[in-house]
Symmetry: C2
Subunit: 334 residues, 2 copies
DNA sequence: TTGTAGGCGTTATCAG
DNA sequence: CTGATAACGCCTACAA
């Protein structure tokens, strides 16, 4: 923006002048071609081509009050976890003529309100937020902005607006049940301490204890969990454990670290160490040995979230909230 | 955007009215607080607070001709490869008050022009592009738009504008030299066929042949290369090879696949199979065994690219082109 | 330090 | 099917 030298950037009036039509007609050729005669459209398109006109969506957005932009907030792209949802979300919206503004929030509770304010100042037509627990201030910000919002990857009693998620406590409980069913009683928890990992942990611990098992160790690694820290935690765990253990990991990265250390130590899986990850990223399937993990349909979540927003943008005001199923994929580490 | 119900979204005139000042004063409080008296600023801030005013950057951008937005185009976020550059780029620009619009281009030659046109229609104040080889049309689009552009992660005789990259052929050559120096003569190439991977491959092959070695096998996997396809390629390679081989992989994902298969087959590394990856992602360091790879300072690239853009935006018009060093990190697979 | 006037480039709306 | 006119909400430039 802001050309300094040479001729200024081409605008709609330039195209209109060259084609011998009103600016509004150029606009129509671009946004509603069916409402322009074929010959006129042809002339206009020729002018656009020779002038190299690129429409100014900032001006268009101000006038139409539609930015044709959807913002998506995810914690990080350093993990594979959110790659699928983002990709599916983006693809679906692009096909509908929207662009996605991707914002990274990090895991610490870096002032989400400030980030939202920044985003909202661009007047997105819709918003995807990861997680479903927001401050009152954030919720007010969002409702005041009157923007459709989809929260994904979590669940809450009262979502801000629309929701495409699952219950992390249930995930933890499912892992516990799975381990218990396979006869494990001594369990360990290794992982990060972000909100959702904590929810999974809680579900796991509760269910283990209710089922007659016990938690023999807990090891924390900083979020987002990397392999190095997870291996370190695993080493500590293996040095102190006194018998077979089933380990509930907060992500596949963590699980990979645990499996790797177990293998290097010659521990048998699942006899000595059972492991379950979370995420079902390629590594869980294609490393050796592959390991058991929780699979969530990330692409489905992304696509559904996009469709919910599109429906709302089409004027369909029904509330939309779905829970996406998850499942444990057993791959030999129990 | 486009509220339908209830009161309309608060705008600058509402704040001005409540604070008893002109709209311009509110604008100043937000954008140049030092030019407003403390008391006035206080009143204005109070009004902003109670009304929940969120500035409209679309309107502001149209007026000021600055979008305060920088667009970044990367092939994918499915690989860890670009996570560091993106993160560093984003962090640096955020500190300077810019937001980053992340766009994914994919690897196929999906019409880059169309993507650029879309992006430019938002009038970004600057652009980061991955790769340095563009069509003439794309270059014209970019120069006509008069936007500062940094190309990263590659090099070219005539970059579009600024450049923070390295020569992929040199990378391939360095791997070849490394293998040759360790006494390898029979080499294989496994990997994707995207532009830059091909450049590395070319540098590798040339240097191997010039150095008296020979290429005994080449295996292709679709881009972006995943572990599964890489393992499959490795299996084929190992079934057909007749002696020790040094394998040049197009990425760490590929190398992980090769190392995994080699380990499962009981092949010794590096005696039977030497492996070198590209990217130095955590997996190369923290999987077992760790493997040799090429390390590039991704964060440095991202930060430098951001700084180049910021300098240009400050009005400094000097050309900026740097080559970022890379190095081979030997980790035991030779 | 604060205010006024005008315009940024496009599209909604209504008229022809 | 096409055009004229008036916003859209803010900021530049200038004036007081």
């Amino acid at each position: 923006m802001k050309p300094r030298t040479g001729r200024p950037v081409v605008k709609i009036t330039d195209v209109a002048a060259m084609a011998g039509v009103a600016p509004m007609t150029v606009s129509r050729v671009l946004n509603a071609p069916e409402r322009v005669s074929a010959e006129t459209a042809e002339r206009v398109r020729a002018a656009i081509e020779t002038l190299g006109y690129v429409p100014n969506l900032i001006a268009g957005g101000l006038s139409s009050r539609r930015s044709r932009m959807i913002a998506a907030v995810v914690p990080t792209i350093a993990s594979q976890l959110f790659a699928d949802p983002i990709q599916a979300f983006t693809d679906t919206l692009e096909r509908a003529g929207y662009q996605v503004l991707l914002a990274l929030s990090g895991y610490g509770s870096h002032d989400e309100d400030a980030l939202l304010r920044q985003i909202l100042s661009r007047r997105p037509d819709g918003l995807l937020l990861t997680g479903a627990h927001r401050s009152e201030a954030a919720r007010r910000l969002l409702t005041d902005a009157r923007v459709p919002v989809v929260e994904i990857w979590d669940t809450a009693e009262e979502p801000t607006d629309m929701l495409v998620g699952f219950d992390h406590r249930e995930v933890g409980a499912a892992i516990a049940t799975h381990f218990l069913r396979h006869g494990h009683t001594d369990m360990a928890v290794v992982g990060a301490r972000d909100v959702r990992a904590m929810a999974r942990r809680q579900g796991f611990v509760e269910t283990v204890e209710a089922g007659g098992g016990r938690i023999v160790a807990e090891h924390e690694v900083p979020a987002p969990a990397n392999i190095a820290n997870s291996r370190a935690a695993a080493r500590t765990l293996f040095e102190t454990m006194e018998g077979p253990v089933a380990v509930c990991c907060s992500s596949d990265n963590v699980a990979f670290g645990v499996v790797t250390e177990a293998r290097l130590r010659g521990l048998r899986m699942p006899e000595d160490v059972a492991v379950c990850g979370f995420g079902d990223i390629e590594l869980s399937r294609e490393s050796a040995p592959p390991f058991t993990t929780v699979s969530v349909d990330g692409m489905g979540i992304g696509r559904t979230a996009a469709e919910f927003l599109l429906a709302r943008l089409r004027g369909d005001d029904s509330a939309r909230r779905v829970h996406i199923p998850f499942r444990i994929v057993a791959r030999g580490t129990e």
